[in-house]
Symmetry: C2
Subunit: 343 residues, 2 copies
DNA sequence: GTTAGCACTCTTGGCGGGAGAGTGCCAATA
DNA sequence: TATTGGCACTCTCCCGCCAAGAGTGCTAAC
């Protein structure tokens, strides 16, 4: 479907105004606000046509028009002006990253805050991960009696820990020997190769305890790619008028819980390299029917990567969202590149 | 102040009914619901007296009565029946802890979930901490080039990590030697003693990097005692009718943010050994004026300890809250005792 | 193709009145 | 003297009604 230039312009104005005001747009107010060289009657005719195309709707007979999901889709695909951040905006964002420490986890958190603050919606950022996680190194640290701390470093530069319980008390020197043996046998293995049968000799009981724990940690790591994204700005979003009724608010609060969000992020929809927009019911079901995602990948090609983006009501400032998501994703990618190449 | 037996009974019924129904209680409905051997007129007289004492109020002239903050205080101090969990309830809770893994962090999380689910309010649980944190052990693990992972084990059995950047590339053997040297010099020191001047010989550049990082981690640890409690059940609480208006809901959502809560927990009010109740404006200011805390300490005397409790509107089932908080605190304490004594 | 005009529709906010719940007070009662 | 029945009074809540306002759809004229 393609619209005449004028009809497209009218649709764009409706979408813009509605994003701005959250109230249905009437023909009268449209001609007043934008110096269209047209009467309201003409605009009404065009509106009727747009409605026939399924791009806008009425809440009721005598109300103004609001964009439908298809209308938003047409808008973002064909009408929305390209928007780039001003150098002032870019500087503000960059500045925050330069203020932060060099810890990767902090960058991720910061990216979420920046998006949430700039867009007044929910920001989602996953930790960067390799698709295939390998064991790089493991260490055991004595704690109390028969308990020890296991530290596992993986090839995606992640370090993870948990406590272990051995059948008997182990001191630091035996722990270190044990760790060395296992590093030799299992170093650079993926979780799939990581079974007791993979070992050269049968495992002792203590070794088996550690191997099981490492396996468990690696498994969680692999699943963690989409799990538990950092979520920021829920309150920002709930301030929007669409959530004015407290029922809707509670439902949304439920839906935006990290645990729910993990399955809901429509990662399949993401094209390579640029920002993806998922509007309303286009992809995901259930509580996100009236919400949109603006998403992008970040990270190194072939290296660790993650996803970041923003979630909000379908009435979202898509132009701003795309510009911000794109820029933050670029910044994160660049930071990771420098980290990887050792500055 | 002390009330006659009958007046006390009437106050207790008002509080009970109001906790149950969230609507003002009239003299009529009170005599109907509870077989008082009294007429509504008599109850009205008593109510007028209770109002003079400042224990109950009217929202407006012709409405029923609701407890005031002082009324709740009198109720919990003098009227509230002692409530203990049934063995069924206890079993359900214990069962969940036995299902969980032996990880301390998981217990804390679980305690929060249990409280939130049972009490339909916000549960708060801090991680257990020693008042004085000492360095037990540190390890360095090679990552990429000049980057390494620092793992710090403290005397409160906590393990913490961050990445470091050295001026030059360090391999695992030099890292291990470095770690050993520092363990010898700084082992069992508190953060206060943890300065470069505390070392026997001047530090090399690499050593200084590590020492600074360890200091930083330990400092954060010490502050973390009240910081970032685990918060669970915000949605449970917001479902209560007092938050029906979405403005109130947003304000509360703001107030219940972990970052705000950290300063708000009235730890001073906590007596030794038993459950503390803070009602309304008794202690804390600002957004918690119309909310109450029910709090208890858990953990080992002289060892690591933490705080747990529940936050809800003043109209809270105090009896249930006290019973649940007390029991969960006992369970956590017992689990920690076993962990400490090696089963 | 565009526009002015007009009848029609639907929401919103304000007003009024009746029902319901509860109070306070007073006089009668045990 | 404490209790109680009775009664007038006061609020809130809810429903229906009405007028204003905004917007539409249609038609006829330009």
């Amino acid at each position: 479907m393609s619209l005449s230039e004028r009809r497209g312009r009218i649709l764009a104005f409706i979408v813009d105004d509605f994003i701005d005001s959250a109230a249905p747009i009437g023909s009268q107010s449209l001609v007043e606000r934008h110096a269209l060289g047209l009467s309201s009657a003409t605009v009404r005719n065009e509106m009727a046509a747009l409605e026939d195309e399924g791009l806008i709707t009425h809440p009721h007979t005598s109300a103004g028009r609001i964009p439908s999901h298809r209308g938003y889709r047409y808008y973002v695909s064909s009408l929305m002006p390209e928007r780039n951040l001003s150098s002032q905006e870019k500087f503000t964002i960059l500045h925050q990253f330069h203020q932060a420490s060099g810890q990767l986890e902090e960058w991720v958190q910061l990216a979420a805050s920046v998006l949430a603050n700039n867009l007044h919606n929910v920001a989602l950022v996953t930790q960067p991960r390799l698709l295939e996680v390998r064991l790089k190194h493991l260490q055991l640290v004595e704690l109390l009696d028969n308990r020890a701390l296991l530290v596992v470093v993986t090839t995606d530069s992640g370090a993870h820990q948990r406590t272990l319980e051995f059948p008997a008390t182990m001191h630091q020197d035996s722990l270190s020997r044990l760790a060395n043996r296992l590093n030799g046998e299992f170093g650079n293995k993926t979780v799939a190769e990581f079974t007791p049968r993979g070992a050269a000799a049968p495992l002792t009981e203590s070794e088996a305890v550690v191997v099981a724990a490492v396996r468990d940690l690696l498994l969680r790591e692999e699943q963690a790619a989409v799990e538990a994204p950092v979520v920021e700005g829920v309150r920002e979003m709930l301030r929007q008028p669409e959530f004015g009724h407290s029922d809707r608010m509670l439902d949304t609060l439920e839906a935006v819980d990290e645990r729910r969000l993990r399955d809901a992020i429509p990662s399949g929809a993401m094209g390579e390299g640029d920002v993806a927009i998922v509007i309303g019911d286009e992809n995901h079901a259930g509580p996100y029917q009236d919400m949109s995602f603006v998403l992008a990948r970040y990270g190194l090609p072939g290296g660790a990567s993650g996803m970041l983006g923003v979630l909000g009501p379908t009435r979202m400032a898509y132009g701003d969202a795309v510009a911000n998501v794109r820029y933050v994703s670029d910044v994160l990618t660049e930071l990771m590149r420098r980290l990887h190449e050792g500055e």
